[in-house]
Symmetry: C2
Subunit: 351 residues, 2 copies
């Protein structure tokens, strides 16, 4: 059975400003390894490593076609297609486009839908989890991946595992919103709750059927936007008029919480991190371009200027050639407020 990786690369990554910019969002930056998160995502499911994987499809923001081509060239991966979104419509629309694309000519392949901005330390274990999930996906389940929590994180959604369906695959008991600290601790202690990694494995027909039932506007508009797409350079550009009619919703809300076909591979223990904010990114202290004296628990990174810090703790300090961010590490989400402020000042040069 073939697996068609589809990389969702449409995020804007504003919480990783000032390095993440509209022209080069976080997934295209080298924040964790010496490759970008987008490149790591593509390499994780490279056909060279496992011939059951087909060349990837990339679904991305409308301005990033050339960047994607460049970054895939650097790692010698040939995309099966690059599909550009004329506007952002959240993940359910992306799932619909992915399913419609695969249904158009590769209907036997399972779709492996992955965000481009997650870090997974152990790619081999990840591929094993995908193989486990494939047993359920080929039977019509829409399979999600449940990461084994190692601490009571309050910033992730959780999934409760239900009855066993296949080896390492369970039905979904319930989707849980981001919990408070006490609830997160209960989830951790119980052992039956897993972080929702936002990665999905499914037959194209299964996803299209469930979208037709639970989110018909998304299904019809996304499918039509793909049919009416036009070539733009090396990429396919979705029809803007039609695609913009898709309601903006997540796969979880639009499909997973409503379908009876939800399943979960669990526990998945692959060193997974959603690189959602600077608090999840490692500090560059110790590099030749940073001096930190009497400092503790900061995230300090620069892509150019020297950064000197003294006597400070629990901070995020990020410098680029044209902007500097200083924020509290326990309040990394506040970077969004900065980006809003820049918008209100008309500082597109910094966004």
């Amino acid at each position: 059975m073939k697996i068609q990786p589809v990389i969702m690369s449409g995020g804007s990554g504003t919480r990783l400003w000032p390095m993440s910019r509209a022209s080069r969002p976080k997934q295209f930056l080298k924040l964790v390894t010496d490759k970008t998160m987008f490149q790591e995502t593509a390499l994780r499911v490279s056909p060279a490593l496992d011939p059951s994987f087909l060349n990837p499809v990339v679904i991305a923001g409308g301005k990033h076609g050339a960047l994607i081509t460049e970054q895939l060239n650097e790692i010698d991966i040939v995309p099966a297609d690059i599909i550009l979104e004329p506007c952002a419509r959240n993940t359910a629309a992306v799932a619909a486009v992915a399913a419609a694309w695969v249904a158009r000519g590769k209907e036997d392949a399972l779709v492996l839908l992955m965000p481009a901005d997650h870090h997974i330390a152990d790619a081999e274990k990840f591929r094993k989890a995908v193989a486990s999930g494939a047993n359920a996906a080929k039977e019509g389940y829409i399979v999600t991946f449940g990461i084994k929590p190692d601490h009571p994180h309050t910033g992730y959604g959780y999934i409760e595992a239900g009855d066993k369906l296949f080896d390492a695959v369970y039905s979904v008991g319930a989707f849980k919103e981001k919990p408070d600290a006490a609830t997160a601790q209960q989830y951790l202690d119980s052992g039956g709750y897993f972080w929702n990694a936002g990665i999905f494995l499914f037959k194209a027909s299964a996803m299209l059927d469930e979208l037709a039932k639970h989110a018909p506007d998304i299904k019809s508009n996304a499918t039509e936007a793909l049919q009416k797409s036009v070539m733009s350079g090396a990429a396919l550009r979705l029809d803007e008029t039609v695609f913009s009619k898709c309601p903006s919703n997540s796969i979880d809300y639009a499909v997973m919480e409503n379908t009876s076909k939800a399943a979960i591979v669990a526990p998945v223990d692959v060193g997974w991190t959603d690189i959602g904010s600077w608090s999840e990114v490692s500090s560059q202290e110790g590099s030749e371009n940073i001096a930190a004296i009497d400092c503790n628990n900061n995230v300090i990174r620069s892509d150019g200027p020297f950064i000197a810090a003294t006597g400070v703790k629990d901070l995020i300090i990020i410098a680029t050639g044209d902007a500097v961010l200083v924020a509290r590490r326990d309040d990394a989400q506040q970077v969004r407020a900065i980006v809003e402020e820049l918008k209100s000042r008309g500082r597109e040069d910094l966004l």
Copy 2:
């Protein structure tokens, strides 16, 4: 009676890194007003404002001759001379050079010796204080200026005023080192202690006599270094071999604490600040190049990059094109440790 201003501009200002650099120390930066502190010092005693002031003499670091010429040109002030120190030998040697220079041809003028890196808000009141001091200086006193404290600052030296000598001029009771907080509060409460502004007014012959008594090596070497000085561009360069033999000492230690001729003008209430560290510099919050959200009591300044801060307090955040500093405001002296670290890393490009 004529007054010969001599501006001491030899400081390196390392505690104001990263804006203050070896090639352009803090006195040559616009940190307080729209002119540099050096320019403000020259303008404060401009002959155009008060014809009793002669054109200034500047005594500065060996590399800053061109910068001084440029900065004086900008404010239309013609220097009487620019004297370059081949090495730093502290203020007693500078006072000796100043006195020797004036004694050489303007022995009737009083010498007004001023650091280039102080801010004085009310220049007119300052000139009035100088006029008060002149009555004592022409009688052979070495006059210092006692700033009226408005808070119990622990970072300044204090001078206790003694008996009244002239109108607004007193003998010096005692020089006091930087006090602890309780002592500083006692000084403030007593009303008889004043901040030592490091500004001096004296007859050249009086200073040379007192140096001969209390610091003969400084007097003889500084005087000889001036005699053997050579023209270098528009400036006079002190003889390095001789000048380097001057012991490095301050005017206070070498002369003022030993002489019976010390006097103090007090209280001087002119809005005086020694711009010694970032904690004394005003924040640029509110400028178009800075966004501070939920922030409190920071000093934030940039000469180029945008700075965005959120949720932080009591910090110093300074950005230049090639370096960023983040430090605790209550520990601004620690910037010196950063500069030492850069030296040890051989990063002359940042110093």
